[in-house]
Amino acid sequence: MIADIVRSRAFVQHVVLLPVLLLVPAVAGRFYVYILAVIFVTGLLAMSLNLLAGHGGAYQFHHAAFYGVGAYTAALILTRTSLPAWVAFGAGPIAAAATGFVVGAICVRLNKLYFGMLQISLGSLIWILVLRWYSLTNGDDGIHGIPMPEFLSSATGVYYFVLGVVAVCLALMYLILKSPFGATLRAIRDNPQRCEAVGINVRRHQLIGIVVATFFAGVAGVLFVVLEGSVFPDMLFWVLSLEIFIMCLLGGWFTFYGPMLGAAIMVALRTFVGSYTDYWTLVLGIVLILLIFFLPEGIMGIHLRELVRQRGRRASMKAAE
């Protein structure tokens, strides 16, 4: 399997891409380096959601709750305790995955829309706790000026840290999706009844999927803390969850990099449209409507459709021979 991956075209593309990304801080201004890091973090969050939404077919409607849990866990350990930073960085994703396990165990008993509604209620419970537990979380104000270790004191250091962690996470996600487990997740998405019939434990696979995805959401949360040095309750708010959903849709559901592209477009739009007008959500709403009507498979989805058609043609030619 490893040998296959090393020989693939995608691997070569990455080997070329990585040095380019490593060189960015040397040539680009500080602001662009920061925006790029924001894109990586948001993209990681969107891709973690897509593990479930695009590949798993689950209505994971409150993914932001786990992102927030990861971020708040790291932030609280960094500000309230004297534990080393790596403990905080490790605890964030673990706390997110643990929360994912509890929420997931309750939600997987139901399917589709009920799953989504139940998750919105459980996620909102976490949100409201963070918002109201003033003595622990500072409520509305959030936590600011979170102390960071020495190597994360410069913008460049933060960029390289974010890039490294995101790259490792993407590689892991790729391997997970390539594995038999990933194939099973897609099979459940396409036909849960048939999977049940051939002896796959659908709920257990979905639950494992949720734990994995929420773990990566927690990583994204920790990276947010590293990048911004602050956390606030809006990170757990339901509207953010829907925004991440749009990123997946925008870039392309059924592709690996689609959500990253979607996140890049959203972050760029927010940064540049937001600097011209106060009505950025109006623009977002219009973009979303256009997307639903004209591009339901997302930007990379079109490319995918073409690819499937070519492969189908090739396969039928082979069969004809």
């Binding site: 139901l110 139940l118 909102s124 419970l125 109201r132 708010f237 959903f245 009505y279 977002l284 639903i292």
Partner: protein, 295 residues
Amino acid sequence: MEQSITLAGFTSQLLVGLSRAMILFIVSSGLSFILGVLRVPNVAHGSLYMIGAFVAHSVATAVGGVSGFWLALVLAPLAVAVISLIAERTLFCHLYEREHLMLLLFTFALMLILGDLTKITWGADYRSLTAPPFLQGSVSVLGTAFPRYNLFLLAVGPVVAVGLWLLTSRTMFGKIARAAAVDREMVGAIGINVSWVFALAFVLGCLLAGLGGALVSPTVSITLGMDHTIIIETFLIVTIGGLGNIWGALAGSLIFGITQSIGVLILPQFAIVFPYLAVVVILTLKPTGLLKSVW
């Protein structure tokens, strides 16, 4: 903190919770009705509620007096109904054949757009509205002073509940709407324009959101954020009640309103957490909601 819970305090909180539940019921019954017929969670419902409140404020202050208040209660839901009819006929109706997720995302887009349009039209300032004179002040109920306006809400809630029940169970439209929810192709096959049935159901549900917004306007400060809180609350209410079940929406609203108001007596800072806890407990025990879902 060490204040003992008196009977009078308990009664007054209970009545506050009940009147809050009436607002929640009116809004969530609309959401539940749309869910039942179209099978779409209308994310824009909260925005329509907010617009209802803003329109009611504008009408009531422009006309003034008692007639202004009644006119606001009529015009605000109508304005919301017109907005939802336009959105439904121009865009939403073309999506019925598509995946449900797309329908949900469309209503989310609508929420984003309506939120900013509200900001453009009314600005970001806080607004407040005073109730008409005959509903101002308070009356004595079991030894506690209770605002008259809340008693008015307690009267309106059941009227809406009964009206909606009669509409869905006793009229032709209600029967067709319920039939279309179960099997739209069959309903279409006997010559009924299903698209218009869906449109009317959507508009009726949205109208209830506008009515809820108009009714709540004298009791809260009318702001841009009010769509976000109500939409989460009403989503939870229809989920614990059973998706699409009107009586479930009533039960859910009562649970939501009362747990919060009683929570104020126990742990004021965390009062808002109590309804969410109630939701989690109910859904853990009975994941598909208290009453039978219409699906």
